[in-house]
Symmetry: C2
Subunit: 258 residues, 2 copies
């Protein structure tokens, strides 16, 4: 079903919030948690195999985020819809928000999106998400608890035919403080951990941090795990067990510095 | 009625939007348009004279903003509630959001605000405002129109006993581009125009710009008019007539530079 035929009623698709009363300062954010392709958009002309691949979502990211949220007693907010319909880590005018192409795949249903359809997806998916996350953050701030925003992503080991050596990417926007603390603590994981890899804020991948953390001067970081390391529920749990102490150590370092 | 007794149900108090279909790129924002003191908060223990004074709102700002919006065919969004209950140009954890003192006046109803009351005001007033403004902005961006955010304020000619010479203050946050264009065009107004006077971003007065304009890299400025110059409906109209060509000239300068 082509997008431009469906610019009228849809949604709103509300974000999923888990453990809303979590006591950790961290709010985990998983913008690419879902490969759901609901009506009126449907499969956008993709094959079932494509809709299971990393172009539709970040495989393993939600399971890892849930494992981390449970271990830290943190709140988790995650996307209800595939990033192929709306990539929640992009502003509505970015090409990647409703991508016509992702890595080597054309997305037929996104080939020719009208302004009305762009608006419809923004109002059905992006705004309920962004305002829902803002509600969580502002409520914490009002109660005198400054949240720490940590987004959880996964990346593909092979991209445009090239293998990626990095296993754990730690990305920051304007303020590198928390990212540097996480990097400093990450030695004990045994992972190949790199700052601002496999991409960085210069690639416009930090929209969530820019919109939600930076204006309130909240500590923040974007974590990227290579998806072959979190390819099963057991692997997701094992990675959560490996990364939770790193995050806790970085948060303690922040508290000492504050 | 004391605030801490009323932390339960109130609102939401939705922002007022006028000329939502305006064709100008400008969205005028008037955070201090209103001196309304609705229940359950009421007059916060202030006299009727105090609730008409500049501590409760920016006298003249709404009339000026309306005059500008009409002349430019721009959308205007303005506050439904006095800044004494919630100052919409402040984050929920800033002291000025629900001020216990304003200039030389104590605000009895804000003397001891509990976390629950701070949350209640944030959810009843700040979040509907901020999310409403975000909805306007993101919808424009989705349709390929990049809005220009211009906030309209007024300031008192005498502050803490000292007279202010500046008549027209032009304040910027991170990006000074539009503010500098407005300053450059303001010579023809005959007003004493000053950059970052009577205060600046360093005084934490640019929350709206920081939260709504900077993350989307939107052009923005905060305009401050001395309130003795807009003390009657006729004076508001005359000032709108004087400033509209300045804004139009600055916007044209921006378009040429883009």
């Amino acid at each position: 079903m082509r997008a431009q035929d469906n610019s009228s009623a849809a949604g709103p698709f509300l974000p999923h919030v888990e453990n809303g009363t979590g006591q950790s300062p961290v709010i985990f954010v998983c913008e690419h948690a879902s490969n759901a392709l609901p009506q009126p958009w449907g499969d956008l002309g993709l094959s079932a195999e494509q809709t299971r691949a990393h172009i539709a979502w970040d495989p393993g990211a939600l399971g890892l985020a849930r494992g981390l949220a449970r271990r830290l007693d943190a709140t988790l907010i995650h996307a209800p819809v595939s990033r192929l319909i709306y990539d929640l880590n992009r502003a509505p005018d970015m090409a990647g928000a409703m991508p016509a192409r992702s890595e080597v795949h054309d997305i037929p249903g996104n080939a020719a999106i009208s302004a009305a359809e762009r608006l419809a997806r923004t109002e059905a998916i992006y705004l309920p998400w962004a305002n829902g996350l803002h509600n969580l953050i502002a409520a914490r701030i009002a109660m005198g608890r400054r949240p720490v925003i940590v987004t959880i992503h996964s990346f593909t080991p092979i991209y445009h035919g090239k293998a990626r050596a990095v296993e754990f990417g730690i990305i920051h926007d304007a303020d590198p403080t928390l990212a540097l603390s996480i990097l400093a603590a990450s030695g004990q994981t045994g992972l190949n951990a790199q700052l601002n890899e496999p991409y960085s804020a210069a690639d416009d991948v930090t929209h969530t941090l820019r919109l939600h953390a930076t204006p309130y001067a909240l500590q923040n970081a974007m974590l990227e795990i290579r998806n072959d390391l979190i390819a099963t529920p057991e692997a997701e749990e094992a990675m959560a067990e490996r990364l939770a102490p790193i995050l806790s150590a970085a948060l303690r370092a922040e508290e000492r510095a504050a």
